[in-house]
């Protein structure tokens, strides 16, 4: 992965120096060992700030939307999962492909920051991905952690290690084996009784702080005025209560239905660890069952079952 970082810096420098882009959005070192932060590189000499390591989890594509109406062009670092958002933004008419330069990274899978932190047991480590696992290094020591145990939860069911859309690709292409079953947890929840399902979700939604991090991080949430922010009419009550939390989560999921690319950002950013992705995945599963639809963003253009009518559509309510 060192090599990816070096290539990334070289590419960024070249793009900025040549005036081909005005800004490079990528990952930089964070203030704690287990976190990286987004960096916005606007000069060639700042390209040194860019890194890529197994902690680079953020889907940076959402930041592009802040620059799409400005003159110039923005480069952004995308992993396989993030690249689906680019396709979906184009399908939604949110993004002009000419406005972005995609620095694609063939990503073998990221490490879970919390597990790494616990395994390290100290505050001065760094991590590198190696074929056998994740190597932790600290002054005077190191440890190799098995990949299977420390792989980030969302990377365990990765559909695209290699970006589906990009302008350059960094790192060796990764053989995409059979994707493990993404819907195992959805099926487990479905197998519960209605009362158990209600209790399961009520307990989770009761934790919700209504911080709207899931909405803000979501690359499919692109409305300038969100219904959850509108004071009048107040479609969903802002009070933190079981009823309004349930309504919020159902509405949020339906608003991204058919456009959710399953990048897992909502799930990752949730401060109270509500498994939001299992709600979105229920929808993805039903889209596959009802319309045979693949994960949105897999290709562009792609069929959009919820935005088009076909006489063959299943219909139980006419």
């Amino acid at each position: 992965m060192k090599e990816i970082t070096l290539n990334l810096r070289a590419r960024a420098m070249e793009l900025l120096a040549g005036g081909r882009v005005d800004l490079v959005i990528g990952y930089g070192t964070g203030s704690l060992p287990e976190f990286v932060r987004p960096v916005f590189v606007d000069r060639p000499e700042r390209a040194e700030e860019l890194i890529f390591n197994p902690l680079c989890a953020q889907n940076l594509t959402k930041y592009i939307l802040d620059y799409r109406d400005q003159p110039g062009r923005v480069a952004v670092v995308v992993k396989g999962c993030d690249s689906r958002s680019i396709n979906q933004m184009m399908a939604d008419g949110q993004l002009d492909r000419e406005k972005v330069f995609l620095l694609g990274i063939n990503c073998p899978g990221l490490a879970d920051p919390v597990l790494l932190s616990v395994a390290a047991g100290r505050r001065d480590w760094q991590v590198e991905a190696e074929p056998e696992g994740f190597r932790l290094r600290w002054p005077g020591g190191e440890r190799l952690l098995p990949r299977d145990e420390f792989l980030m939860y969302r990377c365990r069911t990765c559909e695209h290690h290699n970006p589906v859309v990009s302008d350059v690709l960094l790192g060796d292409p990764i053989l995409q084996g059979e994707t493990p079953d993404r819907f195992a947890e959805v099926r487990r929840i479905e197998s519960l009784t209605p009362e158990e399902r209600a209790a399961y979700w009520d307990a989770l939604f009761a934790r919700c702080l209504r911080c709207y991090a899931c909405r803000n991080a979501c690359p499919a949430c692109t409305c300038r005025e969100c219904i959850f922010d509108r004071p009048e009419p107040e479609w969903v009550a802002r009070v933190v209560a079981p009823q309004s939390n349930l309504a919020y989560h159902l509405v949020r999921a339906m608003h991204v239905a058919g456009r959710c690319v399953d990048c897992g950002e909502c799930d990752r950013v949730c401060p109270v660890a509500i498994p939001l992705r299992e709600i979105n995945r229920k929808i993805l599963k039903e889209l596959a069952v009802l319309f045979g639809a693949p994960t949105p963003g897999t290709s562009h253009p792609a069929p959009e079952p919820l935005a088009t009518f076909a006489v063959t559509d299943p219909e139980v309510w006419l």
């Binding site: 399902r197 009520d202 079981p242 009823q243 009802l290 006419l318």
Partner: protein, 54 residues
């Protein structure tokens, strides 16, 4: 249909949702559809999760 399945997934009785295409000139059809839904809801217990007030 998707929303109904989602409701079922979070433990809300799917019978609570009904969608029908009814034109403004089809008053009787509308009345019948609402009557049918109301009759179906009579058989269900109240669901506190769907009330406005906590």
């Amino acid at each position: 249909m998707l929303f109904q399945r989602l409701l079922e997934y979070v433990g809300v009785a799917p019978e609570r949702l009904q969608v029908r295409w009814i034109s403004g000139s089809e008053g009787q059809k509308f009345a019948a559809a609402v009557g049918e839904l109301a009759a179906r809801l009579q058989n269900l217990k109240p669901d506190a999760r769907l009330r406005d007030e906590p």
